[in-house]
């Protein structure tokens, strides 16, 4: 032998540096991946929040209003019918024009009246109907400005652009600047956004209608898919005989979880609307469709949770003489509940963000009224976002981002709820 044989420790040393290097490399790759993910997450949040945050604010103008009896109540008998159908548009026009007495010409006089939001008309009507003694009174009220001026005030209109490329002409900008100088312009919290349904006018459009639609839909989905999913999981895992039929059902459930959601929309259209005659655009149908979509997720998560319950607990229960159902209800289900809840919340979160199947069942409609029940026409939050992003008005894009923030807030709230529920169940050891 030329060289003495190396000892074990020497041989190990020789490979050690290479092994350590491989480990470091792997760790650094992991760190880089996590970092990259975080960067994109932050970018997304910064983008959404910076675009959407201004939507929580709305520019208001202070208008001098004269509730002219000649217009509102020519007969002077305070009849609600007359008060309700009066020409409040004329009041608004007169009011805005009184701020710009020098404006002449048909077009300019028409344009200047459009400074105030179209909703002002309804606002005045509401005021008079609520308090008829306002007739004949002169007062000053704050009303939202039209969305173009709102954008101007928020700095979203580039004044250096050639006039033809802007939505607002120099003249209109001049009017608005004069109102600012007179102290008649103010930025206020946009409560309308959280109270109203959709509208053609961005300054009147709100998220509440869509939020209620989503809420009703999730109520339907949750109250159907959770009990059904848990019962199915329990039956398949604990009671069903192991044979061809059950394994076929299992395979199909797993496949259903991977079916594109729009297919469920088609099914909903064909079955719930065309066959059962349920109303279109209703959260009930939306909820049913989303139930079909979430069930496989809940069933799969539920079965995984059931299998992860230690067999020793089952044996303990059976060994003491518990029946199978007692074993499941008293011991297995409580231990499986955290896992089942996680699956359910994941399913619900997916359902909350789902758009495609809702398009198929007519929940893309333009819905102004806030839905009051599961059968009223409604949209859902993601559909509303989709509709607004599709609009040409810059103010709607801003609101879409704000709606995304609301949607994310909903999701975070749901996840928080999941964590709380899990803690509560896990605290039972």
């Amino acid at each position: 032998m030329a060289t003495p044989p190396k000892s074990t420790i020497e041989r190990v040393r020789a490979t050690l540096a290479r092994r350590n290097r491989a480990e470091r490399r792997f760790k650094n790759l992991g760190r880089a991946a996590v970092l990259l993910g975080l960067v994109f997450l932050v970018l997304m949040f910064v983008n959404i929040i910076s675009t959407g945050y201004p939507a929580f604010w709305q520019t208001y103008v202070k208008l001098p209003v004269y509730f002219d009896p000649q217009v509102v109540d020519p007969q002077g008998n305070r009849d609600r019918e007359t008060l309700g159908s009066a020409d409040y548009g004329a009041l608004v026009k007169a009011s805005v024009r009184s701020l710009f007495p020098e404006v002449e010409g048909r077009r300019d006089r028409r344009d200047v009246a459009k400074l105030a939001s179209r909703g002002t008309v309804f606002q005045l009507r509401r005021m008079v109907l609520a308090d008829p003694s306002l007739v004949g009174v002169r007062t000053e009220i704050w009303v939202p400005v039209d969305d173009d001026y709102d954008m101007l005030h928020k700095g979203n209109v580039d004044r250096t652009l050639p006039e033809a490329d802007r939505r607002l002409s120099d003249r209109k900008i001049g009017w608005f600047d004069r109102l600012i100088a007179e102290g008649r312009i103010e930025s206020r919290f946009n409560a309308t956004f959280f109270q109203a349904g959709d509208s053609r006018e961005p300054e009147l459009a709100g998220i509440w209608g869509a939020a209620m639609g989503s809420f009703f839909m999730l109520v339907v989905t949750l109250s159907l898919s959770f009990p059904l999913g848990v019962a199915t999981a329990v039956y398949l895992e604990e009671f069903a005989p192991r044979n061809r039929v059950t394994s076929l059902i299992e395979v199909n459930i797993n496949n259903l979880a991977a079916v594109p959601s729009i297919v469920f929309g088609l099914l909903g259209l064909a079955v719930f609307i065309n066959l059962f005659g349920l109303p279109r655009s209703a959260p009930l149908v939306g909820g049913l469709v989303l139930t079909l979509m979430t069930l496989p997720t809940i069933i799969i998560a539920g079965r995984a949770a059931l299998t992860s319950v230690p067999p020793s607990i089952r044996e303990a229960a059976l060994g003491i003489g518990a029946s199978k159902l007692q074993m499941i209800v008293h011991h297995v289900l409580p231990l499986a509940m955290p896992g089942m809840l996680t699956g359910t919340i994941i399913g619900m979160a997916r359902a909350l963000g789902e758009t495609a199947p809702l398009l198929m069942i007519g929940m893309v409609a333009f819905v102004v009224d806030i839905p009051q029940s599961v059968t009223d026409a409604a949209t859902a939050l993601p559909v509303q976002i989709f509709l607004w992003l599709d609009s040409p008005e810059r103010a709607f894009v801003e609101r879409a981002s704000a709606a995304i923030m609301v949607l994310l807030a909903f999701l975070i709230a749901m996840n928080a709820l999941a964590i709380v529920l899990r803690r509560r169940f896990e605290r039972r050891w």
Binding site: S312, I313, A316, A317, G319, I320, G321, H330
Partner: protein, 292 residues
């Protein structure tokens, strides 16, 4: 004592065998007939020609054995020989295993426990079981013991339940250690305490027979000693069948011992005789440590 006549019969049987004893021949070594005294007078449980299969695996082969009243029967044998399987046949826990079949007859106080009209729920209350790994419910100590009482409706009132819980914990020698924290989780106890909690849980429903599957194999020596003392004491009033891989344990707690070998019951006899003077050559190999 109730088992005395049984022992007498066994000793007679053993003598008979000794008289016929021949050398350790191949023929005797190959024999899978049960030798010794598998039967007892006035038994609590009787097993006749019991066969258990897991699918094609013939795990228990033609076992006939009596379990005497108010005595401890130890089952020993190399691992995988079917001790647990046989034990689980005694309270039909094997029913829960897919593909597990059983033939033959097992009677508890003369009643066929595999009869069509026999319900496993009352059976398992009568034949309680303590498992290898302590498996308290993830509930409070109190609820662990009260659970069986509640589901079987054994108590009329809350105070009666409390009485049963206290009595069972005292029987299991655990009362002193836990009476100030009955509302604490049972899973928070030490391994030995957990196993005694499981025994208390079993006796709370007043069973007639207690089956124990290597109840000390997950415990340290001190906890083991405590559980063995407990088994010794319970053996006065309960019929106990205990599987153990420790021959010392079998010697310490049991009056009779059964030796299983690859699914066959090779020998049954009084414990001291099995350990000092086994009949079957394979039993001798096992207890002298040549096999297993």
């Amino acid at each position: 004592m109730a088992h005395q006549p049984g022992v007498a019969v066994m000793e007679a049987g053993a003598l008979e065998f000794r008289a016929a004893e021949v050398e350790d021949t191949d023929e005797r070594r190959e024999s899978r007939e049960t030798v010794g005294t598998p039967f007892a007078d006035d038994p609590r449980m009787t097993c006749r020609d019991v066969n258990v299969y897991y699918g094609d695996n013939h795990a228990i082969k033609n076992v006939s054995l009596d379990i005497g009243r108010e005595q401890v029967l130890a089952m020993i044998g190399p691992s995988g020989c079917g001790k647990s399987t046989f034990l689980r046949a005694l309270n039909r826990m094997n029913d829960t295993i897919d593909g597990c079949r059983m033939t033959g007859e097992i009677r508890l106080d003369g009643q066929d426990i595999y009869a069509k009209d026999m319900d496993v729920v009352p059976l398992r209350a009568l034949v309680g079981m303590v498992f290898q790994k302590p498996n308290p419910f993830p509930k409070s100590i109190f609820d662990n013991i009260a659970y069986g009482v509640r589901i079987h409706g054994l108590a009329e009132s809350k105070s009666e339940i409390e009485g049963i819980v206290e009595h069972s914990l005292k029987r299991a020698g655990l009362w002193e250690e836990v009476n100030d924290r009955l509302d604490q989780p049972g899973t928070g106890l030490s391994g030995g305490q957990q196993q005694r909690l499981c025994i208390a849980r079993t006796i709370a429903v007043s069973p007639e027979v207690i089956l124990m599957d290597e109840p000390c194999s997950a415990l340290d020596p001190i906890a083991t000693a405590k559980v063995e003392d407990l088994i010794n004491e319970l053996g006065q009033d309960y019929t106990i069948a205990i599987v153990t891989h420790s021959m010392q344990q079998a010697a310490r707690v049991s009056q009779r011992t059964a030796y299983f070998h690859l699914g066959d019951l090779l020998e049954v006899g009084p414990t001291d005789q099995i350990f000092t003077n086994p009949i079957h050559p394979l039993t001798e190999d096992y207890i002298t440590g040549r096999f297993g």
